[in-house]
Symmetry: C2
Amino acid sequence: MTARPANSHQARILKLLRDEGPTSRALLGELVDLSRSKLAVEVDRLMETGLVVSDGLAASRGGRRSHNVRLAPGLRFLGIDIGATSADVAVTNAELEVLGHLSQPIDVREGPVAVFEQVLAMADKLKAAGLAEAFDGAGVGIPGPVRFPEGVPVAPPIMPGWDNFPVREALSQDLGCPVMVDNDVNLMALGEQHAGVARSVGDFLCVKIGTGIGCGIVVGGAVHHGVTGSAGDIGHIQVDPNGHPCACGNSGCLEAHFSGAALARDALAAVESGHAGELADRLAASGTLTAADVAAAAAAGDALAIDLIREGGGLVGQVIASLVSFFNPGLVVVGGGVTGVGHGLLAAIRTQVYRRSLPLATGNLPIVLSELGTQAGVIGAARLITDRVFSPA
Amino acid sequence: MTARPANSHQARILKLLRDEGPTSRALLGELVDLSRSKLAVEVDRLMETGLVVSDGLAASRGGRRSHNVRLAPGLRFLGIDIGATSADVAVTNAELEVLGHLSQPIDVREGPVAVFEQVLAMADKLKAAGLAEAFDGAGVGIPGPVRFPEGVPVAPPIMPGWDNFPVREALSQDLGCPVMVDNDVNLMALGEQHAGVARSVGDFLCVKIGTGIGCGIVVGGAVHHGVTGSAGDIGHIQVDPNGHPCACGNSGCLEAHFSGAALARDALAAVESGHAGELADRLAASGTLTAADVAAAAAAGDALAIDLIREGGGLVGQVIASLVSFFNPGLVVVGGGVTGVGHGLLAAIRTQVYRRSLPLATGNLPIVLSELGTQAGVIGAARLITDRVFSPA
């Protein structure tokens, strides 16, 4: 059982060392606002627990050189990011650096038991590669609403068999360590906040476009879950009253019009109705079309693919424009599998937002692509569990 | 100069007494988690400053009867709520009970100097009626975005002359007391939280439908302002790409389709194009039609009026449905002048939200009309300034 901090000062020290890396005692004292002697007491106690170690002398800041401390380099956390069609599993150290990362296709519709069997096998592979002997905690993202902090999926629309499955308890037993569970998009937002484009931004939106569409909402530095854990579920906002039927039972939902699945469907329909070009060639070659094919075709200059992305991106932009007017964020990050289609998508989104939202809300508003890619989710998952284990028990 | 609390314990005591009224020392000690002796020290200091007074013996809770304390009954706060076409000014005590309330038509387009002249005259009237000798603080709501906490209007679209006017400083000099300024809808939300239907709700939306449309957003008990103070500006969310032109320069904005102004415009257009009935009679009688006429006609069973409200309410509901999916609030409060049209509006909004938003987000979601009416804004304004003056300087 990994030790836990005994009080809020120790918790702040641990989180600072996680976010800033090795730090001198002098600087740490300033950052947590503790006197030299009180800081020494807390750091010494953390060293006794094994969570913190000494790390040599810091660079001189003029006076006597201060000793560096850092989080124990042997701490290991597991970041698990379960998508509808793939799972990412990574091992990080306590500073949330990714030491190893596996990704493989899964089908979330097979249910939690089958999915976690595969995920645990991936974790074992990472262990077998020598990256960890045991885990000090694991964070898990799943592609549906989660009752937080209990870690139980609630009525996930695309995930039969997951409703009320005790993910947190079950995995905690299997892994022998504390586990926290959240929606995959919320963890992507945490990852971007920790190591990506959202560092130092307090209020931002993180829109993930993959098989479905979701939005992580960060308010004052913390994820906003909503009263039933479904905040950010923007995939079912209506964009066309006479639009495509959606799996949710309504019609014209955003993700019925633009998502990985919708993009593949529209590309297939266009080619079948006679559109020649790159996409038709790809269909002939492989017998199927995916969002990745549309991305590749667009990159190769295929007009149909470019149109599909521009049109769909415009719908996403229309929804984001409304959310920007409502929420007035400091940053919008766009990520997820479909962002492989690249800057055409971003341009379409930006056009809508800058045209539709109030100038006051968009004046200094960057709208950017995620730079972390699939690492955002696993880093966010590791961050979630360290937020927990670096808090007093 | 009214005294300010010296530390955070005193601040918590003052806010508790504001929110709960006279309270025994024993209960106060439990609520602020202070020992009997430490609490006694802080309460005695507050008594010395004159902010708190003794209020007799509390009812017995078994043991020795405890002494009640309360906020000084002579403290007076001014709540000012400036709308596009009317101003409300109220005097409250420190428990935010409204002791006197004046309302009069104004035109916000006359600019801040002319408007505040009228508002200050209203405050003088309340003084002359013996309700206050001086004010210990004033809260002000204005119908546009506010840079918070500086209290400066920013690019308010319907308010020529207000951009960057130093409302807080100017009024503070005129009134001789501390002043805080926020958007009128945010103050309505604070009022509902303090004394209305949102008591004890941490995350809720407060939609105000008056001359325009805005939304107060409360997250974890605090108003969310957004990075430039424009959060909640939902009046310019697009509801119809081919819709009415809006004052903002775009077309199809929500408030160009449903607001006090839009309702009056549509009623006039319908009558002028030949619709007979209650609305036509009212136009003939007074030469003009207002939202209040539509409300009265709907109440009298006029089919045209009922249709206008159902249609417009459906558009508001469509936008609220998106916001509910996004934000997953615990409550939606609908208020503002147009709510005079009553339950037909509420029914139209509810229909859209319960049909369009995810069941998980609407399962336990009440959508209700404000019960405070025009008092929500002035109580919220008084609450804003007491949050300030009951905090350490």
